[in-house]
């Protein structure tokens, strides 16, 4: 799976759940910019874990500041999963 596909899924999921226009999502956008509350964040994580069949570790998210970091993190998790199942 390419990073472009992952970025696309993350962008669509995040903007759908936070009810924001897709144009408001860039790599420097933060969850705060999107006015995401704790329920939004849980729903985003559940949706992405489901879609990519990965496990997001909450503590690992603490260092994430913006959507760019978030996409890279999800990409890493997908790569780890692919490596495990190879």
């Amino acid at each position: 799976m390419t990073i472009e596909i992952i970025e696309d899924v993350v962008r669509n999921t995040v903007t759908r759940i936070t009810r924001k226009d897709i144009s408001q999502f860039t790599r420097t956008t933060t969850f705060k910019d999107l006015e995401a509350d704790s329920l939004d964040i849980v729903q985003i994580l559940v949706a992405l874990e489901d879609h990519f069949d990965i496990e997001v570790v909450d503590e690992e998210l603490e260092s994430i500041t913006n959507m760019g970091d978030f996409i890279d993190y999800i990409n890493r998790k997908v790569a780890e999963k692919t490596a495990r199942s190879a």
């Binding site: 329920l39 729903q43 994580l45 559940v46 874990e49 489901d50 496990e55």
Partner: protein
């Protein structure tokens, strides 16, 4: 004892659900562990069960989503063919005052905590057909007592307890016993939500029994309700709280 029984524990990966899953395995049951996000925790609980010589199977499914419940039960039917015990334990919820609650938070909480109980029970009953079974729902004192920001969860637990009564009567002719357990505060990760309120956190540190309720206290009560010794207990919500609810001012 629960030898040869197949049990599903929703939210069986961590906290109280984990203790319930392990206790049912201690009694001889094979256990299906449903979870939402923490796969490693679910795998660890399953591994502990296997070390007890019992079968364990994990299923990721958001019980707030009807189609996920459907596929979870299809997987159970496929793998085990039947079910003897359903423990409706999974819960989530938004922590807000009534005036701050929005539709999304209300729906999320009610779907996972109350609607899922109905949908899981409906599907569990099909897998219990001709053999009977036990259904136990996990509630909390918040179904009756008012606690800060517990609004949505408290209401969902009240619905769960009412549904327990209706199911108990409707399912009795099929040899299925249905009960609920309402616990006082238990030290699990779920309690971290209330860390902001120091006074509250202190209030429930002690009970007249001298300590907080432990996950294992609840697990042992679940196991009792799953054994035939409890045959005549139907549609009840059994309070397990060290006396907290009858004497909140005396500790």
């Amino acid at each position: 004892m629960l030898e040869e029984k197949v049990a599903l524990v929703t939210g069986g990966s961590r906290g109280i659900g984990r203790a319930i899953a392990l206790e049912l395995a201690n009694e001889g049951a094979d256990v299906i562990i449903n979870y939402l996000r923490h796969r490693t925790a679910a795998q660890n609980t399953a591994e502990e069960i296997r070390q007890k010589g019992r079968q364990a199977h994990i299923i990721r499914a958001n019980v707030g989503e009807p189609d996920k419940i459907e596929s979870m039960f299809a997987e159970i039917a496929d793998k085990f063919g039947h079910l003897d015990i359903l423990v409706n334990n999974a819960a989530s919820g938004v922590a807000r005052k009534a005036m701050d609650l929005d539709e999304r938070g209300w729906a999320w909480t009610m779907d996972i905590n109350a609607r899922a109980f109905l949908l899981c029970a409906q599907r569990a009953v099909r897998l219990m057909e001709g053999r009977g079974g036990k259904i136990v729902a996990i509630s909390s004192l918040g179904s009756r007592l008012v606690m800060p920001v517990y609004t949505a969860v408290g209401v969902s637990k009240a619905a769960l307890e009412a549904l327990t009564r209706y199911l108990a009567i409707e399912l009795a002719p099929y040899g299925i016993a249905v009960n609920a357990i309402a616990a006082a505060a238990v030290q699990t990760e779920a309690l971290n939500v209330y860390k902001f309120n120091e006074k509250l956190s202190k209030t429930w540190q002690t009970t007249s029994a001298g300590r907080m309720v432990q996950p294992e206290d609840i697990a042992k009560l679940v196991a009792f309700l799953c054994r035939d010794e409890s045959f005549m207990i139907r549609g009840q919500t059994i309070i397990i709280d060290g006396g907290f609810s009858i004497a909140p001012l005396i500790t």
